[in-house]
């Protein structure tokens, strides 16, 4: 765990343009960076947290509940890291166990039942890799969350606010819009894990981070992220500013999807699912040799 907590060494005032991917990893993991509950407190009112998966327990690394945002009731679900070691121990460093994902699925179904749009805040190093998590079906819990999100009958907007750590992050990110803070990262594996496997040395994480293309800029370019939320001064230094900007961008996207696919209207469910399927269906980079002999390169989904 010591490696994933590495946050030291990003100097204040480093020019945003000169920030390396590794600098952004450190910013994304900064203990002073606002976490899910900070966003809920600042942007939403009347939050009622809903606990438990009704099967085994309540996961404090993944929280959710109902709140008022922009004049409407939303279901807000997010990973929750702690601000210090004590909190982090209670929150399992923001790494959900299967109970967390099963709670997410329960709350997603709840949102569907009452036709409430969903806001997801993404901030996790990874899904918990412990023995108990394996015994209770971590893989299945994540997969079912993916399926529930892909098939959701209400609109959803996800915001990567800090660390988008692999499947643990994706599990609650299959949304109609994916937004990302400028200094957040979103990756298929942690740079440490990637370096440990391919470089045979987790200390080479900074190099791995560079080649993995995990910054908001990279992912916007790949057509995976819909909008980058600017963070002129890192959120760890000016949390309220970053939260306020996030609120504006989130409000706009949520308004758009809710207008296009009104929750509660049966007629909008089919087109909503169809639009979401198309969004994820096109993501990838492959080449395809057509029978007529013309090579089609499908690389930038934005150009399709």
């Amino acid at each position: 765990m010591t490696e994933t907590m590495d946050t030291a060494g990003v100097e204040a005032g480093t020019s945003p343009l000169s920030r390396s991917a590794w600098d952004r990893v450190k910013l994304a993991r900064h203990p002073d960076r606002p976490h899910t509950l900070d966003y809920v407190r600042e942007l939403m009112t009347d939050f009622v947290e809903l606990h438990g998966d009704r099967t085994f327990g309540d996961d404090r690394a993944l929280i959710g509940g109902l709140a008022k945002f922009d004049g409407m009731t939303v279901m807000v679900i997010g990973h929750q890291k702690g601000g210090n070691t004590k909190e982090n121990l209670a929150r399992n460093f923001g790494m959900p166990r299967p109970e967390g994902y099963r709670k997410a699925v329960r709350l997603l179904h709840h949102a569907e039942k009452f036709a409430i749009p969903v806001v997801l805040l993404i901030d996790t190093p990874a899904a918990d890799p412990g023995i108990g998590s394996e015994e209770r079906g971590q893989a299945t819990a994540i997969a079912e969350s993916l399926l529930t999100m892909a098939d959701l009958s209400v609109p959803s907007v996800a915001v990567v606010i800090g660390e988008g750590g692999s499947g643990g992050a994706l599990a609650i990110s299959v949304a109609d819009r994916i937004l990302m803070l400028e200094n957040a990262v979103y990756a298929v594996a942690s740079p440490e894990a990637c370096a440990a496997i391919l470089w045979k040395d987790s200390a080479r994480a900074p190099e791995a981070a560079e080649t993995m293309r995990i910054t908001a800029d990279d992912l916007y370019g790949f057509g995976i992220v819909d909008e980058i939320i600017p963070e002129l001064i890192p959120a760890s230094e000016r949390p309220r500013e970053a939260i306020a900007t996030t609120g504006q961008v989130l409000r706009r996207h949520l308004h758009e999807v809710v207008t296009a696919f009104p929750p509660g209207s049966v007629a909008s469910i089919g087109p909503l699912r169809e639009a979401r399927y198309r969004k994820f269906r096109r993501i990838g980079a492959w080449s395809d040799w057509q029978p007529d002999g013309i090579a089609t390169d499908i690389f930038d989904p934005r150009s399709v």
């Binding site: 765990m1 899904a127 890799p129 412990g130 023995i131 998590s133 394996e134 015994e135 209770r136 079906g137 971590q138 893989a139 299945t140 994540i142 997969a143 079912e144 993916l146 399926l147 999100m149 892909a150 098939d151 692999s166 499947g167 994706l170 599990a171 299959v174 990756a187 298929v188 594996a189 894990a193 990637c194 496997i197 391919l198 470089w199 045979k200 791995a208 080649t211 993995m212 293309r213 995990i214 990279d218 992912l219 790949f222 995976i224 049966v266 007629a267 089919g270 699912r273 399927y277 994820f280 269906r281 993501i283 990838g284 980079a285 492959w286 080449s287 040799w289 057509q290 390169d297 690389f299």
Partner: protein, 312 residues
């Protein structure tokens, strides 16, 4: 004390347990079983579907051998062989650039990518088939894997045919970064469509199956089968040991462990796979037909509901 030696990962031999099954005794005449250490006559092993006759250890199979084992002879027609991988990140690690690694892997494995898809019959029943080839970069799931699987799902959707997936994978392919991670969402989303049409997805998990594949399409199947002794999980055992500093219990992450914890429907011996699949396909066949009739009436109801909505 044993733990002390265990943790010195750096000094461990480079040959891991994962490599051992491929280890061959001179001339491939004899094969040592990693399960019971017996020397087995290779021809006999082959006749026994690559299952150790002494201890029932199921050896890993290449995708083409797996297909031959599961479907009727000469019934397999491959799909999308022209969907080929790219190097979107221009990924470079100490072993070199990813595109070079791809070319090397393609020539060494004889396969263009890690997933082979196609249509076939199982004892006369039409099915779609998607089979992982672990010899191709650990059958890691990248863009081509996801795209070929989604196209296979869409074909099964159009033809109303069940899909059988055979998964064995190290997880998402790191060399394609977030494109790989997104294939988890993309394949699951396609399976959601298949589910709406009540077309069954039968998943067979074989050794080893981990990470992004286990945590996506493979475990949202309608029926999950596993081969005896297969290792299946989310995080790999070494990662869990390193992070939790705990010794893993005996039998951890085996198919039997998953069955006991309620994560798979059934464990099926290799020799019994084809009849089991045929029986299941038959059980779904009448429902499936019903679903297609119902599907039409549902579509009508849906349109009516929409019209009411507009009146409001």
């Amino acid at each position: 004390m044993r733990d002390f030696f265990h943790r010195r990962g750096k000094f461990r031999p480079l040959v891991t347990d994962d490599d051992r099954p491929e280890q061959q005794i001179p001339e491939d005449l004899w094969t040592k079983c990693p399960g019971c250490q017996e020397l087995l006559y290779s021809k006999e092993l082959e006749r026994n579907l690559h299952v150790c006759p002494k201890c029932d250890h199921h050896f890993r199979l290449r995708a083409r051998d797996r297909i031959a084992l599961l479907v009727d002879p000469a019934s397999f027609a491959e799909w999308d062989i022209d969907v080929l991988p790219k190097d979107p990140l221009r990924f470079v690690d100490p072993s070199g650039p990813y595109d070079r690694k791809l070319a090397q892997t393609q020539s060494r494995s004889g396969e263009p990518e890690a997933l082979i898809t196609g249509g076939a019959t199982i004892d006369g029943r039409r099915v779609g088939l998607a089979v992982c080839d672990f010899a191709f970069l650990g059958a890691s799931m990248g863009s081509v894997f996801g795209e070929k699987l989604v196209r296979a799902i869409e074909r099964c959707l159009a033809d109303g045919v069940a899909l059988v997936t055979v998964s064995s994978s190290g997880g998402a392919r790191m060399h394609e970064g977030l494109f790989s991670l997104m294939q988890m969402a993309k394949t699951v989303a396609a399976f959601a469509q298949l589910g709406h049409e009540r077309i069954p997805h039968i998943a067979l998990l074989v050794d080893p199956c981990y990470g992004g594949v286990t945590a996506s399409y493979a475990t949202v199947a309608d029926v999950i089968m596993a081969e005896p002794g297969a290792l299946i999980g989310f995080a790999g055992p070494r990662v869990i040991e390193q992070i939790t500093k705990q010794k893993l219990p005996a039998g951890f992450q085996t198919a039997e462990f998953l069955l006991e914890h309620g994560m798979v429907d059934l464990i099926v011996e290799r020799s019994n796979l084809r009849p089991s699949l045929a029986r299941l396909l038959d059980l779904y066949a009448p429902l499936h037909h019903q679903a297609r009739v119902d599907g039409r009436s549902e579509a009508v109801a849906f349109a009516t509901a929409g019209a009411e909505d507009r009146r409001d």
